[in-house]
Each structure stands twice: as C-alpha cells, then as structure tokens.
Symmetry: C2
Subunit: 200 residues, 2 copies
C-alpha cells in the first residue's frame, strides 16, 4: 500500500489548473491516488525556505504567454482570465469543506472553479460566482454559508496552509510524494519516473 501523492494548488494559478487536468491520470498509471490540497499563495504565505516567486514574474508577458503555450502543448482548454491573480481564499475554504466530507465531490468543485476562471473568465473571487457553482452541484444555501464563512472553515484552511508552509511548499502546482518535493508541471516526468522506479 503506497501513500497518496499530495497535490497542492492555488485556484488562481494557471499552472495549478493545467496540472489538475493531468495528475489523477498520471497517478492512476502507477496505481497511486492523489490528495488534492487547495492553498492560498498570497502575501501571508511563508514557505519553509522563505522562497517567494515575485509577483512581477507571475504577471509578466513571459508567463502569460508561457501558460497559454503550455496549455496548448498539453491540449488543455485555457484562456488567460481578465482578473489574473484573483483572491482565492473563499474558494479554498469551500473546497476543504466539501473535500473533507466527500473527496470526489471536492475535486469536482475544484475543477468547476478552475474552469469557471480559466475557460469562462468568471471572477472566482466573487461570492456570487462561487455560490452559483455550488448551487449547480446541489449544495444548499445553508451549507454554502457554513463552507464559505464559518470560523471552523477558516481555521481548516489556515491549518492546511500552515502545513504546506511547514512541508516546504512554495508554488503551484506542488507535489509531494514520500517526502520528495516536485514543483511545477514540468517536473511531472520526474515525478512519474519516481512513481515508476523509486528514488533516484
């Protein structure tokens, strides 16, 4: 019995979205499962090694073009959101609320949020947009209120972010398997070799 792959992502990360379209299949090819872990890589995030990817990189023409090209390379539907860098705390809180109760449903929510943002150019920082997505999934207004704003839901997300910081996560997507860290879609071939034949 092998441990699941931890998959960290921020809902506003184009690279996290692109990875989310691939990681489950990669894991399945090697008999592994994936634990999806939404985090918030905002100004409060303090990684173990104090690593921070500067905002001017993420907002550069280079990265904008790179994300579009990478999505095209992998055949993932993608268009640069008009509000790139949206706040993702509320989406992440709702994700964990759902995921803690029904993991598969949590992933479904995550995929819907990312497609709303990276395909349909919706503002995923907006409570109305998030509530509409939850309603589509059959969630009640009461559950939505609890998931999105309850103190327990806030603490749950904070604990997740604290754990990510302590484990040395500093970007999105970020994968940890057997303690080994892999940052970025471009490390997926290395992750896959690890899954296939162990440490190297």
């Amino acid at each position: 019995m092998t441990a699941p792959i931890d998959f960290y992502f921020d809902f506003a990360s184009p690279y996290g979205y692109i990875a989310s379209e691939q990681i489950d299949q990669i894991a399945a090819r090697h008999g592994r499962t994936v634990t999806w872990r939404a985090i918030v890589l905002d100004a409060n995030f303090q990684s173990l090694e104090r690593i921070r990817i500067p905002n001017n990189i993420m907002r550069s023409d280079y990265i904008r073009r790179d994300a579009e090209r990478l999505a095209a390379f992998y055949g993932v539907e993608y268009s640069t959101p008009s509000n790139l860098g949206a706040h993702t705390e509320q989406a992440a809180r709702i994700f964990h609320w759902i995921h803690d109760r029904q993991p598969q449903r949590g992933r479904d929510f995550a995929s819907r949020v990312m497609k709303a943002y990276f395909v349909d150019d919706q503002n995923i920082a907006s409570e109305e947009v998030l509530e509409a997505l939850c309603t589509e999934m059959g969630m009640s207004a009461e559950d939505f209120a609890e998931a999105s704003a309850n103190p327990a839901s806030r603490s749950r997300l904070k604990a997740e972010v604290d754990m990510a910081e302590a484990r040395g996560v500093f970007g999105s997507p970020f994968f940890i398997v057997e303690g080994e860290r892999f940052w970025g879609n471009d490390r997926l071939p290395q992750l896959e070799r690890w899954l296939a034949s162990g440490p190297y």
Copy 2:
C-alpha cells in the same frame, strides 16, 4: 533556410549546463543550428520586464536537490559545486573571444568550463583555472590575456548582456527561436514542438 536557435546560459547555472548537453542534438533533429551565447546573470542584469529570480530560490535546498535530480533524469554527469554561484564574467569574456573567431571551439571551451565546475568541482571564477583550461586547448598566454582582460573583450560581453536584456532574457538556460522565448530545460519539449510544427 531557418534561423539558428539562440541559447543563452550563465556558466554558473546548473540548468544551463544540463541544457548545454542537450540543445545541439535537439536542434539537429530538426535541421537547425544553435548559437551559444554566454551571459552573466549577476546583480547588474536588468531584464526587459524587470524579472529577477531571487537568490534565495537559487540557493535553496529545493533547487539544489532539483538540479541533482534533473541531471540524473537526463543522464548528465553532475555534482553540486562547492562554490555554487561563482562569478562568471571572466569565463564569459573568454568564451566570446574564442566563439567570435571559431564557434565550434567556443562551444568546446564552454563545455570544458561547465564540466570543470559541475563535474570536477573546480572554481571557474579563478583565473588560474580558466588559464589551465585554455592552455589545454592550445591557446597561447598572449591570447588568454587578451581574451580574459582586454577592454574590447569586456565591451564584447557587455554588448551581449545588453542584447539579452533587451530581448527579454531573464534566466539560464533561455532559448529564443523566431522571437519566441523559452525559459528552462523543462520548456525543451515545447521548443521541440515549435521546431517540428511551427507556432502554436
């Protein structure tokens, strides 16, 4: 007749070294040639979009491990130098001096410098080390002095760095083909698709 691929690298960049072991073969598979361009990504480097990879990233445990793993992944001989982050200006000056006269010999010099650093743990910031490498290649002491310290040689490197800045280079390795920028070894599959089937 297609344009050569511009390959920018800093002699102290593990990723530049790993790329240098691959790029010529990739280009050749698509009937292309490569122009090797040594640059110096020090504190004076000002990329077009003011992008700078923070030093604490390059010196982190993550990157140290990542470079070792990447080299193993590609089957490139590599061991982390004890003076990671060595000054590379003199090596870059000598490179251009040779490369402007004999491109193939310039590459040979570049490979020797990188192997001295990333395989044999020699200090490539040392004039003695560089001179020994040049002597091995049959270069005279007069030529070495001119290449390493002549004002013309300094200006030559400065012009190369200025051009890299103006073209939006900000890391190593960095590839430009038909105006399209690719940063990092991990973008080589995308570069290769570009070479195979054009823009996407």
